[in-house]
Each structure stands twice: as C-alpha cells, then as structure tokens.
C-alpha cells in the first residue's frame, strides 16, 4: 500500500527530473522562473491583443476610412488626458464656491470618478450576492418560504433593470443609493434562481454521506450544501459582474449621480466622441481589473478546484 502512495507522490515530478542529479536541483529554480515567464507572457499577450485592435483602428484612420470627428482613433482620444479629465467628477469640481481652476487635478478627477463607480458596482455586487444566497438557501430550506417567495421572484426576474430606474429615483433621489439599488435589483433575482439551481444540482451522495453520519438539516446546509455551491456561485458572480457594470452606467447616465455613466452622457450631449472613447477605455480597464481581482479571490477561496482551463487548452 505504501508503494501506491510513493508512486502517487513522485509521479508528477518524474517526467521533469529524470536525467541527472545536477539538473534535478536546477529544476525547481527553472520552474520558478518559468512561472515568472508565464506571468510575463500573459501581460505580453494582453498588450498584443489590445495593440492589434488599436492598430487596426489607427489603420482605418490613416487610410481615411474612419472620420476622426466621429471615430477618433486611440492616439487622438488618449492624447490630451488633462483636457478630458476636466469633464470628470463634476460634482466636486463645480461645488458652490469653487471655480473651474480649483479642486482636484484632471488626473485625480478621473480617479475619483472611476473609484466612485467601482465602489457602487462593488457594494451592489456584495449586497446582491449576500441577499440572493440567503434567499436561495431559505427557499430550499423552508417549503413555506419557497411557496411564498419564489413565484414573485420568478415573476420579477425577467424585468429589465431599466424599468426599475424610475423606482430608484423615486425611492432614493440622487447619489450613491439609487445606483447601488439598480445594481442590486439587476442581479438579485437572477442570482436567487441561480442559487436554487446550484443547490438542486449538489451531488446527492455527498448529502447522503452527511446524513448517514448523523448530520442534522442545518449541519447539512452549513457543511455540505454551502461549500458545494460556492464554486458555482462565484462563477455566477463573475458572469454578473459585467451586468453590474452595464447597469451602473445606465443609472449614472440618467442623472442619479456623478460617475462614468454621467461623463458618457455629458459627452453625448456635447457631441464629444473623443470623451466617449476615453471613458470607454477607462471603463474597460476598470472592469478588466475588477474581473482579475475576482478571479484571484476565486482561486484563493476555491483552493480545491483543479485548473480545468489548462487541461482544456492542451487538448
């Protein structure tokens, strides 16, 4: 039996460190530097992907196919960040008693506006997931809760978040609250249904193992069902992250507060394509970073999941 164990342990390394003792010592260091290269390679591919896209756009401009008044290429809309930044964070800059020259610099304004929007997305996402998981678990835990609540949730889930916009304004006026409310409303109903679906697909064997060991219903929920649905729920969360970004822009652009969406609206009203594309670029970077952080958290929390992406890639 010990033989099996030893085989299992050396099996993975055997392929790499067969030849000589010297190379065997080198192998870990080599692996470490390879891991570093791996990271660099990822950055390199990301840059290449973006440059390719930007390059095609620039080419269209150079060939005269894209009118720079309507579709200004990156080198134009990224050219004058100071000028663009003036439009950001208007609420602070135009506060009573402040002239246009005072307040945060253009760059700071972009940061503050971006941070405000990100904060709304983040808070909305956290609230929506906590509420949705709680409600989803309760629906499966108590039959009466299921009968009482599920019909309404199913009824409301296909309603477009845009339809909630007036409600957000009626209830919360302007500021952070309506934007956060919009994010929560856009995600909550879908996430409740997703939670229920996740619970229903938990491997019955795992539940049965816990039952034969004398686990009570609350123990089964806490120790088996919640950990078992966690991977799926984080996936659902990531899927909904982009939805949250879309909704927050809509909320901000219809005057429930300042933020990226409001800048886009400003750009539309003043016919400023450069500003539109600049804002889109900033939103893209923010969304990308957010998704990356979430993926990082996912890998931390779901330490037990194997890396399937790699296995699918090498097929």
């Amino acid at each position: 039996m010990a033989v099996v164990t030893r085989d299992g342990e050396t099996g993975a390394a055997a392929g790499a460190s067969r030849p000589a003792a010297a190379t065997r010592q080198l192998a870990p260091r080599l692996l470490a530097s390879m891991a570093g290269l791996d990271w660099l390679a990822k950055v390199w591919w990301t840059c290449l992907s973006i440059s390719l896209f930007a390059g095609m756009w620039e080419l269209c401009w150079a060939m005269g196919w894209a009118d720079e008044k309507l579709l200004p290429p990156p080198h134009i809309f990224l050219d004058n960040i100071g000028e663009q930044g003036k439009y950001f964070n208007t609420a602070t800059r135009w506060q009573v008693g402040q002239s246009m020259g005072e307040g945060p610099s253009a760059f700071e304004s972009v940061l503050i506006t971006g941070a405000a929007t990100t904060m709304r997305v983040f808070v909305g996402l956290v609230l929506a997931s906590v509420l949705a998981i709680a409600v989803g678990v309760l629906v499966r835990y108590y039959r009466f809760f299921d009968r009482l609540v599920l019909p309404t949730i199913t009824l409301l889930s296909p309603v477009s978040p845009i339809a909630w916009l007036p409600v957000a304004i009626f209830l919360f006026g302007i500021g952070n609250a309506p934007a956060i409310f919009m994010v929560v409303v856009a995600l909550f109903f879908h996430m409740v249904l997703a939670t229920i679906n996740q619970i229903d697909t938990v491997n019955t064997n795992l539940i049965n193992v816990a039952r034969t060991m004398g686990a009570s219903k609350p123990q089964i929920y806490a120790r088996v069902i919640v950990p078992a649905i966690l991977p799926g729920m984080l996936q659902v969360l990531r899927m909904n992250l982009f939805g949250a970004w879309m909704v927050v822009l809509v909320a901000e652009s219809t005057g429930v507060g300042y933020g990226m969406g409001q800048v886009i609206m400003l750009a539309r009203n003043t016919f400023n394509p450069s500003l539109v594309f600049f804002t889109i670029a900033v939103i893209g970077v923010l969304g990308f970073t957010f998704d990356w952080l979430l993926r990082l958290a996912q890998r931390r929390i779901l330490y037990w999941l194997p890396d399937t992406a790699e296995r699918l890639r090498v097929l």
């Binding site: 039996m1 010990a2 099996v4 164990t5 299992g8 491997n203 064997n205 795992l206 049965n208 193992v209 816990a210 039952r211 034969t212 060991m213 004398g214 686990a215 123990q219 120790r223 088996v224 950990p227 078992a228 966690l230 037990w304 999941l305 194997p306």
Partner: protein, 275 residues
Amino acid sequence: MSSENAPHFSSRDAVVCRGVGKTWAAGTKRAHEALRDIDLDIKPGEFVVFLGPSGCGKSTLLYLIAGLEDATAGQIWSFSDKVETPSPERSLIFQETSLFPWLTVWQNVSFGLAIRGASQEERRAVAAEALQRVGLIAAMDKRPDELSGGMRQRVAVARALAMRPKVLLMDEPFAALDVQTRARMQDFLLDVWRDSGASVLFVTHHIDEAVALADRVVVFTSRPGRIKTIYPIDLPRPRNLFSREAETMRIQLTELLRDEVDRAFAEQEAFAVPA
C-alpha cells in the same frame, strides 16, 4: 405493515428484512418496482455479498438498509431498532467517490466527529487511527483530487470505519479499480472486517470477488429484484481461490447469474422495441 402485527425476528441480528419492497415514484405514472418481497437475516460479524444483474435493485436495497430511502413494503430492523432514518451505526460506502472535495483527507475521515462537535485534537487522532488501518497515513493532509481512485476508495472506507459502524454497507466500492489493486483492497477489507467485527453487506458484479469475500452470497433475480438463492461459501479463511471447491462455486454462481442476466436483457430489449 403496521407495527402492531410486526413479525417476530431475532433481535440480535445485525440486519433483518421482512417482506421488503421498493417502488420508485409509487403512485405516479412513472412508478417503477425495483424490489419485491425481500426476506433476509444477517448475523453480527457476517460477510454477505449481493450478486445480481445490473438494475435489479442491489443499490436500492443498501439504501433502504442505510435508512436513506423508505421501503414501500415490509420492514427493516437493525439490532432490534426499526430502520427509519440513517444512523452512524450503518455506514454506506457509495458506488461513486463521495469525498468532500473541499476538505483534506483527515477532515473527510473525521467529518462524522466534526458533526458531533469533537475537538480538533480528537478528530485528528481518530482520523490518524482510521487512516493507519487503510495504509494512507502519509496522505493525511492531501486533498481528494490529489489521490488515485483506489486511494480515494480507501479514504471512504476509513471514513466509514471512523464511525465504528456495526454494519458496513458497500456498494461496488472496488468496481473502478484494476485487478491487482482490487485484489489488494479485498485483502485489506478482510483485515479490517476481522478487526472491526462489523457485519459487511457488499455489492459486486464480480463472481471472483464474491467467492473471495463472502460467508454467504445473495443472488438476486432481474427486476423487480427478489432473492433467487442464498449461496453459502463455506471455504476456510484465508482462502485458496485456486482450489477445486472455489472453482466449482464460481461455476455454479455463474450459472445462477446467467439466467437472470439473460432475462434482464430480454426485458430491456422488449422495453426498447415496442411490438
């Protein structure tokens, strides 16, 4: 079925089934009779193997004895308790791996103790002892996905043993293993069985396995599963599986099973191609 006219049975028996039947989705259009009229007595410390064609209800019977599903007819007792709910005294090892992927090996093994609120030291000690018995003490801090299929099944066995069950229910636990590993696992199971004194109910498709392990082999008919014969294997242990007696028994069991497998197939064909 009511408890007033409960039939008599020896209350010292590990498992007693009287007229047990199970119809899945009873009372609906999809009703499906899996088991009928099962009468079975299993002594404490006895090793009983269930043999039968695929789909005859062997797993279903283990589920009923474990208390995970309710019988639709008859009654089941275990040591004078009526089986109505699952109990740590009757551990079930499933056909597929059923380790919790988010727990380490030792946490999996001591899950039942965690449920009862045992301290970390106690859990680790019990897990270490159980893992020692299955020869996996070195893998204590690994995660299930780092183990081979055979190692995972041994962890599942350790987890069942950690509950100190009086009845160990095993549903084709070694089906996915290669012949050599399976032979080692059988030896190991026999050791564990002897040490623990538990009764073992073991489902398999392999006649060799039945002859290697069982005190008695219960042969099932095709669906709905009924007991066709109970075949005693009275070979002394440790067994010489190449002896003439062992060979005769394998041949007889093969004959017994073949009729039923043929019948099961005929039925499934009739089902697939309606006349």
